[in-house]
Amino acid sequence: MTKQIKQIAIYGKGGIGKSTTTSNISAALAEAGYKVMQFGCDPKADSTNTLRGGEYIPTVLDLLHANARVNAYEAIFEGFGGIYCVEAGGPQPGVGCAGRGIISAVQLLKQQDVFEALDLDVVIYDVLGDVVCGGFAVPVREGIAEHVFTVSSSDFMAIYAANNLFKGIQTYSNKGGALLGGVIANSINTDFHRDIIDDFVARTHTQVVEYVPRSLSVTQAELQGKTTIEAAPKSEQADVYRRLAKRIVEHTESKTPTPLDQQELRDWSASWADRLIAVERQSQLLAS
């Protein structure tokens, strides 16, 4: 009997810090002795850059483009701490079908039994969360990831994307698909940010796995093409990621979220906008 591989998908709106978070989780897990694969599912193919000194690697779909027969191992590269880095890749903007690319790339690795052969403990899919077509839902489906996490800031557009993801999870939930582990609250530096996220998770019946503050050490590490774990292992931020990684790898019980419908989401954001204006007014009053 082969061991159970922990398969996790991390979704988030583009630019929200999803790849940064994912790579730090992978790095923290590798540091803790796990055999990890990080699988980037974004046509930009830059998910694993900070695990490999800022380098881009050839993607699964690059191989597919070049020849009819693909050896999946030619798309696997070692990164920090022995992490196996894979990028699905995709077409140039404006042509082809990126969603189908994700399907093809995931199928290829599964058919060649790569995960078992590499004796992995954890596979983390880092998935672009803006796109709603079927291909980007592949990691949520039956037999791929078991737990989904979403990276979100308190920014309304990020929450909109998270809510969309919840809808996707709900769709697949009664068909054996992955369930929601929770929200990784990113760039949370004020209580107000925290309140927004907390309110959102309460309404959608999920939880915050970790609050990750915005930190200069992250930016500094990224500029060196590294994760915070690698570049500043002793920093406070690194410990935040280690805590997050531990929670995620030990996480067992995921649930079906209850996403807000269009109107609820609009009303909800409007109410927070009103509170935001009130708070600002108050601070202006205090200043004057």
Partner: protein
Amino acid sequence: MTAHDLKTTLGSAKPIVDKTIVEKTHSIEQIRYGCAIGAMQSVVAIPRAIPITHCGPGCADKQFMNLAFYNGFQGGGYGGGAVTPSTNASEREVVFGGGERLTELIGSTLKVLEADLFVVLTGCIPDLVGDDIGAVVKPFQQQAVPIVFAETGGFHGNNFTGHERVTRAIIDQFVGPYDGAPEAGTVNVWTLLPYHNTFWRGDLTEIKRLLAGIGLKVNILFGPESAGVDEWKAIPRAQFNLVIGPWLGLETARHLETKYGQPFLHAPALPIGAGETSAFLRRVAAFAGLDKDRVEAFIADEDARYYKYIEDFTDFYSEYWWGLPARFAVIGDAGYALGLTRFLVNQLGLIPARVIVTDNPPEETRGLISAEFRAIADDVAVDVAFEEDSYTIHEILRKTDFGHKPPILFGTTWERDLARDLKGAIVEVGFPSSYEVVLNRSYVGYRGALTLLEKIYTTAVGASA
């Protein structure tokens, strides 16, 4: 019995799609048409035109083999069958787009194949991933290559839809603008769907013969009697467009009306038999303003020959001992269904038990089609059903009252087993007709009607002992 009584007796006035029979869903079992890219066969139907298909590896073969081979065994023609170029799109064209591959295919096609017109047809793959076909084809058009393109991905609709799209693509991208004077006495004919209609070659031949007989110059456009692209180039010069059939071709005629200011005449019923055909010809002649004497002389001549045979046939029809079918059902395209029903009722005096139209006519045309069926004769009205799923169709037919005699079904291969179960006869008259070998056989006009009589009664007599 009064005419009114007859109407209620013969006309099967009850609603056909009885909701208690089956619940209607989108599912289609035992298909009765192909998809939009099936219109590659409309290209093949134009002499010396070749389709270039940008689609998955099976699409071109599938449409050809089913529409043109296992349907009357019509064959591939000049540029169809295994000749048709295809990108045979693979995963690479899906993920990264197929524009480059299509450019390569068109370029090499021009080296290998000789044609007067190439029509690029797209399948689901390029239409989903959004390949810019116009951008691929345009440079070839600028180099004066006779090539046009049409978006015919299967999800856009069936091969009837595809046919109108292909026709329009050729008119807009190949025939082009025209502001000269119209040529009196010339007509463009828009009627049966090539290949899908099993007998289209013979039927178009007979239609052209009839129209030429009353003095028209005929652009028949498809099939062995067409002069190919020269005829297409001549479309704008015609005096008018003639649409024969309840709906297919109307969209094209309206487009031509806007584009070239050509009027059109719509004859909803395909003319079968002398009565129908003579009336049809008189209507066309009046519209076109043809010389009456010539028209009447032609009709008289045809009538005389037709009725000579009908008279001879009468001995059999009135004296045959072993019984002939009385009630019939028609399962087919709106075009054939209407023409056949009118002929069977008005010429032969058979009783319509069920008529089911299977080609999914556009919603806006269904009112007209229903009205045509309600006016089959003064004393016969038929409530036509629109249904494309054969399971539902067969359920309807199994619950139809065919009276005390075995019925005769005018349908397709799908009805063979049903006819056996109903202990009736089957005449395959539409797609798919996998147990008919068809060359130039026609069932329309004066001559076709006689052939149809032979077929009907050979079937009946042939099964008798």
